[in-house]
Symmetry: C2
Subunit: 500 residues, 2 copies
């Protein structure tokens, strides 16, 4: 604000949504709702039941985000209740599930399968495309240590993504196992947690730096183009090759990958355990008809969250998409998950095996849009009944009511403007048809219908003048008694001549 | 905690949801989702578009709940953002709409019709059935001063409640107009706001005290059974009769009520305006085919919220329902709304007419349940495939996959228990059928199917032993290739013999 600016009246607040929070309009919501209903149906068909926990959890139940006196809001939106207990808005759907499972363990069928979707909140710095509130959709099985529980989650994730609209083969779930990584670390002589993290960070850069760059980072270190030096993990050359062989074992089908991995990490107790789990996952996935084109083993998958204890999965979009400027881009991860056997034990003290998959609903909607599968592209406005005679409002209402009763979305124009602004309004609403009933029509017992798509198509050059005149007259007058049938004929013609 | 109690380890948090927040399981969620999808379809058919605003609003945008230094959480859940601005979780869906409309007014089609549903939060003392988070569903028209906009909202509310499952005629929307109340006040010589409030409070007690009790409260005052004296509004006897005549004008159809009201409040400018609006609402409702059995004028309706400026509505459940103890009870209001022309002006300074209707989703679900319309009563668990041979997991997974591909919900038992606990698990999941494949079945290429409903019916005495043996064998063995057809036959028989 400059010195000259007049400050706005303190009594009149500014209309703006808080930083990092957005309003979602009909088109985006329609796409997200279609995703959620398709995925929910798939998940329920797999025996997963819906659960909705409240927005708040006690901060101690959320785990790692324990509030401290200085920064109670670190990472989460937290506030202190009347009774002085700290509550925080959930930052994901897994922590509330762990709390719910621990709270109700005695009465739940075991294993307990549930899915959930809804907003989660992160008190982070907002940025472009980076919000402080976004929707997630999770499915988890609590109480089964079987690798088949992981396989079921993976197969279901694949089925869910396809039901949501991703073409078969356009996404792949890549699977790894933390136990293999641990086996690799002991085989490579990695001793400390710090060294382990440096190794994992190096592996995570494989896509960007290639094997040669990663080899340097696994050894003494690497100098980049700008001359900056990154200290390496300090592995011996043999150990570094072992790690690289591990990450390269992902080529080929699942059993080929298993054999290659056995050569690298077989023999260590944890490595063998991980291999046995992956073999069982492979068999179950095959039983479920999920081939390596939809679910593959990839030893290079490293998921960040500390709490994973076994299998980890990452769903990746393979489709080439384009960014806002039309440049080709790799969309990357659209979801992930894995086995976390220790989360419920935080409450109960008893280890409770659990596994799950989570995806970002808004992110999947964006992926579908980028993949040319805009689920809401067919969103249409209602038929608009124009108001030409104020004394006939009840008649106009009756016309709209008749259309609705026939299942056609309709509304009466309820502003105060004349004919032209009303037509403009109908156009802006993406209305298919305007219903016009003036003095002539009332006298003759007719209705005039205007095909608004036609005007839009002509304006966009999709349809030429000569072609449509033969097929679609643009405007027609029908007996009042044939209103519904006449509107339906126009809407069908717009949809390409299909029957109602 | 007594002195003897061992304090729980500080490292192990207690698993409990915060006070006033609940977990909702599959059955309740299914009922609420059915309501919302039925209502959303009706609202969209009326030309209302979906909108979802974020959970937070800036506290100043929320209006009357401005935080003060001492009690920043009064009534709402509020917290201070990094940049020191106060944010609060929305306490309803109207305040965010007013903010959204003000923020986007230039680019919106006008009038702007939107519906919304989602959780709202109130930082109040929780109690039985009284939560701090609950779901609302709203529809509003912003930018139309026409009474027909009110009528459309009312007709749509009626249609929405019926689509949600309320039998036609089991609910009525009662309509009044603030302008009539104001006209009545001036006709009755009410001068101050305080006196007006005392009159309204007296009218609001009509149901409980009857006309004689209210007459006392309108005059000098009333002594109740316990001897406590409530000071009255101090109206003259004639003025009190006028108020009582006003409240009694609701008997009969809408035009009869209008005539009766004209006798009481006609002549005052505001009264005449209110009467004209109600007459237009009546005509529009009639055009929409909504008779007085579904939408009636009732001058006794007094809605609490300060911000209403014209028509007010209250949806009331007429069905006799029973409480938890089986006692008959009046369910009462299940939603309401009205015209509020000043909310958007808070931001823009320009009066923007608006009208809307809101209902509590959880409350409507409870009403439907009380009315014997439990939408989730048919909730069923998945078919459970038992695991008798650990080496055959992939085969069991394939069986479940085959059922799912045929649209039948199914799961493989993924625990580690034996046959009997597995059957118990399936029963607890409300599973219709257990699929049993052991050594014999694998050898013979068959599957054994157990009708679990039958066991439940026998246990409940619904079906007798002799009757079902002829029709439903309880357990049968079918060729593996006929798995899907055989499961379907049992499920169809359970549903009463209908075709799949």
């Amino acid at each position: 604000m400059t010195d000259d600016a007049v400050p706005s009246s303190p009594a009149r607040p500014q209309a703006r949504s808080p930083r990092g929070f957005i309003d979602r309009r009909a088109r985006d919501l329609a796409a997200e709702r279609k995703i959620l209903s398709a995925v929910a149906e798939v998940y329920e068909r797999h025996g997963f039941e819906a659960l909705d926990t409240g927005a708040f959890e006690y901060a101690d139940a959320l785990g790692k985000f324990l509030p401290d006196a200085d920064r109670p809001n670190e990472g989460v939106f937290a506030l202190q209740d009347d009774d002085d207990q700290w509550m925080a808005l959930r930052y994901d759907l897994t922590a509330p599930l762990a709390r719910f499972a621990a709270q109700n363990w005695e009465s739940l069928p075991k294993p307990f399968r549930r899915y959930a979707f809804g907003p989660v909140w992160r008190n982070e710095k907002p940025g472009p495309g980076r919000y402080r509130e976004f929707w997630q959709c999770d499915a988890d099985t609590v109480g089964s240590a079987r690798p088949e529980a992981d396989a079921e989650i993976i197969a279901m994730a694949v089925a869910g993504l396809e039901a949501a609209g991703l073409p078969a083969g356009s996404a792949v779930v890549k699977i790894n196992n933390r136990k293999l990584l641990n086996g690799l670390m002991s085989a490579a002589g990695v001793a400390s947690e710090a060294q382990k993290l440096t190794v994992l960070r190096a592996v995570d850069k494989l896509d960007r730096l290639g094997p040669d760059g990663v080899r340097l980072l696994l050894g003494e270190g690497r100098k980049d183009e700008s001359g900056d030096f990154t200290k390496g993990a300090g592995l011996s050359a043999a150990a570094a090759e072992r790690v690289l062989a591990f990450t390269a074992a992902g080529a080929g089908d699942r059993s080929a990958t298993l054999s290659a991995l056995a050569n690298v990490v077989g023999g260590s107790a944890e490595g063998d355990e991980g291999l046995a789990e992956l073999a069982a996952i492979d068999a179950a996935l095959s039983g479920l008809g999920v081939g390596p084109d939809r679910a593959a083993f990839d030893p290079a998958v490293v998921r960040g969250l500390e709490y994973y204890t076994g299998a980890v999965f990452e769903a990746e979009l393979l489709l080439q998409t384009t960014d806002e400027r039309g440049q080709p881009m790799r969309f990357g991860s659209i979801g992930g998950g894995g086995r976390y056997d220790d989360l419920v034990a935080r409450f109960t003290g008893e280890r409770t095996p659990a596994t799950g998959f989570s995806f970002g609903v808004t992110r999947l909607a964006a992926a579908l849009k980028a993949a040319g599968r805009d689920l809401a592209a067919d969103a249409r406005g209602p038929v608009v009944v124009l108001v030409l005679d104020q004394a006939r409002m009840a008649d106009y209402m009756a016309v709209a009511g008749e259309l609705r009763a026939a299942g056609i979305a309709a509304e009466v124009y309820l502003g105060t403007s004349g004919m032209r602004p009303q037509m403009k309004y109908a156009d802006r609403r993406l209305s298919p048809v305007a219903v016009i009933i003036g003095g002539d029509e009332f006298a003759a017992g007719t209705v005039t219908l205007k095909d608004l798509d036609l005007g839009r198509e002509l304006a966009a050059g999709v349809t030429d003048n000569a072609a449509w005149r033969a097929e679609r007259p643009g405007q027609l007058t029908a007996p009042r008694a044939e209103l519904v049938a006449a509107v339906r004929r126009i809407v069908d013609a717009q949809a390409g001549g299909g029957a109602a």
